[in-house]
């Protein structure tokens, strides 16, 4: 299974001394980031707001240009990788197109890739099955609940089988129950497809539950405070959340956040304590 982390596998994302400064206000969003993601890994980026975790995700996706350093995706430049459709992305809100049905939303990247109608239809059906929304194929996005919309977004991001899935707080706007159910669904999809996932979150429990590794970041300037290897076995289930090892790892992540947390604002501290 791809979850055997630690085995020296092919790098999917290689980040070398990456720095990103925003000229407006001279903010250093990311400073000297080095990170190597191997094929099949599920890596969470966690940290308080302002630690640059979303910026890092966007630099990997070539949606933001780095100021210095290099990013390699699948052995290519990030720009080349984007042009080659090497990754799919999911945002905090589903970003569905109201004028397209659920199936047509999922088929959008396939249209852009120039797939013919029959091939698109077959793949969209597969994806609908994967996220268990087959009976909602012809619905409009606004007829779906928030959790269902996010599942459509995931299906769309995975429709063209990218090697890499980038997720920017995808479940951040959902209620706790829906979030936990989607966590389980996401893990099962990941295990079926064996893609590499970069998952931005501000929830410690979510990061530990999902990931093979948790990258803890600290703010101002955005840096990697530490990396926690999550050695909980897969498949992870509801019981995983009650295992002693799970709590140890949660504490480990929390302490890493605290140790570099001298710059935290009170409300950020509160958010991390939840």
């Amino acid at each position: 299974m791809s979850a055997e982390h630690g085995t020296p596998e092919r790098s999917v994302v290689e980040i070398k001394s990456l720095t990103k400064t925003f000229p407006r206000g001279h903010v250093t969003a990311l400073q000297e980031i080095d990170l190597d993601l191997r094929a099949g890994e599920f890596v969470s980026l966690i940290g308080p707001s302002g630690c640059g975790k979303s910026t890092l995700l966007r630099v990997i996706g070539d949606l933001i240009e780095p100021t210095a350093g290099s990013v390699t995706v699948n052995g290519k430049t990030a720009k080349r990788a984007r042009a080659d459709h090497d990754y799919g992305i999911v945002f905090q809100d589903a970003v569905l197109f109201d004028w397209r049905s659920v199936s047509k939303n999922i088929g959008l990247p396939l249209e852009l890739l120039g797939w013919d109608r029959a091939r698109r239809k077959a793949r969209v059906e597969e994806m609908l099955e994967l996220v268990e929304l087959t009976s909602f194929a012809d619905h409009n996005p606004w007829q779906l609940s928030g959790g269902m919309q996010q599942r459509v977004a995931i299906a769309r991001a995975l429709a063209f089988e990218p090697a890499l899935l980038l997720m920017d707080e995808p479940f951040g706007a959902l209620d706790e129950m829906t979030r936990e159910r989607l966590n389980l669904e996401l893990l099962s999809i990941w295990q079926q497809l064996r893609s590499t996932v970069v998952f931005v979150t501000h929830s410690i429990s979510e990061a530990v539950f999902l990931s093979t590794r948790v990258v803890v970041m600290s703010p101002r300037p955005g840096r990697i405070a530490g990396i926690v290897d999550v050695d909980l076995p897969y498949p992870r289930t509801v019981e995983t959340r009650e295992a002693p090892r799970y709590f140890e790892l949660v504490t480990q992540v929390r302490e890493l956040l605290r140790s570099r947390g001298e710059h935290l604002l009170p409300e950020e501290e509160a958010a991390l304590a939840e």
Binding site: R82, H85, I89, V95, D98, L112
Partner: protein, 259 residues
């Protein structure tokens, strides 16, 4: 209850108010002895509407064609300019303040001038007024619509390495369509106003504006009112045509979902 029955029920209050208004109109003419030239009875307007139908409808058709020509030309040009302005920011920076200032000009005041620029007897002078009236709201709203595309949706398209043209076609245009139709409905009303008012300043004898004005001058007020009725019906027809088209094109927009 079926959807049609529910829709029919929704119309009942409006229909009741309409009937009531006619009754009050008719009743107050009798009660306050209002002179026929100030306000004719609804029944005499309707009978004039019927008796003069061979004059009124051809005149209405002439005016409608002028309005339609101005509406189509002005709106298309408005959408074209908005597309260019939206594509090249520099053009927008140069033109938008002028366009917004121009929007405040009472364009209808140019009607006599337009009649001189184009032949007052030709329909083109009326189309020009209607067209200019339609142009600005359509241009401004189309541009606003094109610029309202969600940054997230554009970012998603960029993650798929979509070209600017694809983003325009698949994100900007669909986002703009509800804005465009809102302005087209406004423009459809303005187009009829432009054509009729343009005709007040002179035009072919077989046109509504000229007919209404000349009948009023010879104290045939029922016929003038019947002309206004024809103009109103044609205006409503044009508006309704745009609204129906909107329903077919913009099926997804929240405001057209249930109504």
């Amino acid at each position: 209850m079926s959807a049609y029955a529910r829709q029919a029920r929704d119309w009942v209050p409006a229909a009741a108010v309409f009937v009531l208004a006619i009754v009050v109109w008719d009743g107050s003419i009798a009660a306050f002895h209002i002179q026929q030239f100030l306000l004719p009875k609804p029944t005499s307007i309707v009978s004039s509407f019927w008796n003069e139908r061979h004059t009124l409808w051809p005149a209405g058709w002439t005016t409608f064609q002028e309005a339609l020509g101005g509406f189509v030309g002005g709106s298309l040009f408005g959408m074209f300019v908005a597309t260019v302005v939206g594509r090249f920011k520099i053009v927008g920076t140069a033109l938008m303040p002028i366009a917004i200032a121009a929007n405040a000009i009472p364009i209808i005041a140019f009607a006599p001038i337009f009649n001189v620029w184009f032949n007052p007897l030709s329909p083109h002078s009326k189309m020009a007024i209607s067209g200019v009236l339609c142009f600005l709201p359509v241009m401004v709203n189309t541009l606003r619509g094109l610029q309202s595309a969600s940054p997230r949706q554009i970012e998603l398209m960029r993650s798929y390495a979509a070209s600017d043209l694809e983003i325009w076609r698949r994100v900007r245009v669909p986002t703009a369509l509800p804005f465009v139709f809102t302005s087209l409905k406004v423009a459809s009303v303005l187009a009829m106003i432009g054509a009729v008012v343009g005709e007040y300043f002179g035009g072919s004898f077989n046109a509504l504006g000229v007919l209404i004005r000349s009948k009023a001058q010879v104290f045939q007020f029922e016929t003038a009112w019947a002309g206004i009725l024809v103009a109103s019906l044609l205006g409503i027809a044009l508006y309704a045509a745009v609204a129906v088209t909107e329903r077919f094109v913009v099926r997804w927009a929240p405001e057209t979902r249930d109504s």
